[in-house]
Subunit: 270 residues, 2 copies
Amino acid sequence: MLCVGLDPDPSRLPSSLNQEPDGLQKFCRRIVDATAEYVCAFKPQVAYFAASGREDDLASLITYIHEHHPAIPVILDAKRGDIGSTARLYAQEAFTRYAADAVTVNPYAGEESVLPYLEYADRGVIVLCRTSNTGSDWLQKYPSIYPGIEPVYLRVADAAARWNTNGNVMLVAGATFPEELGAIRARVGDMPLLVPGIGAQGGDLRSVITVGCDSRGAGLVINASRSVLYASDGPDFADSFAEGAADAAREMRDEIRKLQSELAPDRAVV
Amino acid sequence: MLCVGLDPDPSRLPSSLNQEPDGLQKFCRRIVDATAEYVCAFKPQVAYFAASGREDDLASLITYIHEHHPAIPVILDAKRGDIGSTARLYAQEAFTRYAADAVTVNPYAGEESVLPYLEYADRGVIVLCRTSNTGSDWLQKYPSIYPGIEPVYLRVADAAARWNTNGNVMLVAGATFPEELGAIRARVGDMPLLVPGIGAQGGDLRSVITVGCDSRGAGLVINASRSVLYASDGPDFADSFAEGAADAAREMRDEIRKLQSELAPDRAVV
């Protein structure tokens, strides 16, 4: 259930790689190869490529993953949210141009911003529901001060369940709010959840697996980015980053399996 | 107060231009030159370029506008919404890579998704508040069935007013819901509003100006895209599109001025 987020911050790359024109991509390819056997998905974040005009690197990286690790789906973390013909073009960007298997989308502009993606029945659409940061409480938990009126994020969960006629919808539910993650799980049955916020952001893996798994003891895509990418950050990072990432990914995969097995011993994959 | 949205749909370009590698950009440049004297801003929409990997065309187009029409700001319609370091990279994409004067952003992920943009004190940050489509009602108007509890979109307006310490925040308020546009205006004082939804989407110019202007009878950036870009669509579109766009923009500019002058005769620019 581990997903490695490919958020290659230029300021944190090994300096030898950072000086090469395609260093960003080389870094990601080595992370991918080193961690592939421990993950269920890779999640490249568009901004890390777009900020410096490296969309071609992003496209090449996704092609590389498809060619070398064809069983591992690629989630494009784009979080677009626009309506009508614009949403159709963003879906084309994600699914045709980048050949992503799934894409994250923002629900604020409503159905017209999500439906064009859902028409790609063989691709996944991952709707932001409860993000991992506290600065979104005023909106996503609104109007929580009124007892009995449910928060926005559960309305989004209900909407996503309605939209799921092709069975290709997922939700983003941050690891940092396990109670809310549990409320989302209770609302959407066995819909898979993408869970950011483990590691650098402070989410707790045990809580997430306890409250977040579906009826089969699975159904989570637990993302780790910085804690894997920069696991061996230090003086010899340029030589050790891939090995460090592999170690970090394997440890996290093992920890997830252990927790799954404790919580649902007859179901877990060991 | 007219803004021309640059949403160049490849399927609607003159076929002669569509066959050229930089046809998308040529089309936009001719629209820009033809309409520049009637507008207060241009608003290119990223998706129309990104869907087919034409980010370089988008960058060149913005450079062209800055060079040939330096007094006219460029609003990058990107609607990104991500947090922390990712938001900082999206701000870099908009303001450094594309040199946009302002950018649209999505508030769903809260302050962490907006603050990195606001640090660019000389650039504008335009927060989605009330979009022009009915399919967003369930979220943006939530929980409207409970009397006395205000809707999400007014919470967003309040948040934007709080964030506006550099005086560089605007809000998106759709022309299709004039009552809500008026409620937003009442909430945010003289903060400028970007108003989509006139023309193809059915918004009414008179209503927008009546309820939307600030205390000086101004403060609106009224967007028109398809109704200007494809104004002369027909058999001789390839020859007439720029002239048609100029006519449509001039008529709309004149109509805006006329309505401003009727509603605030001593203030309007004629």
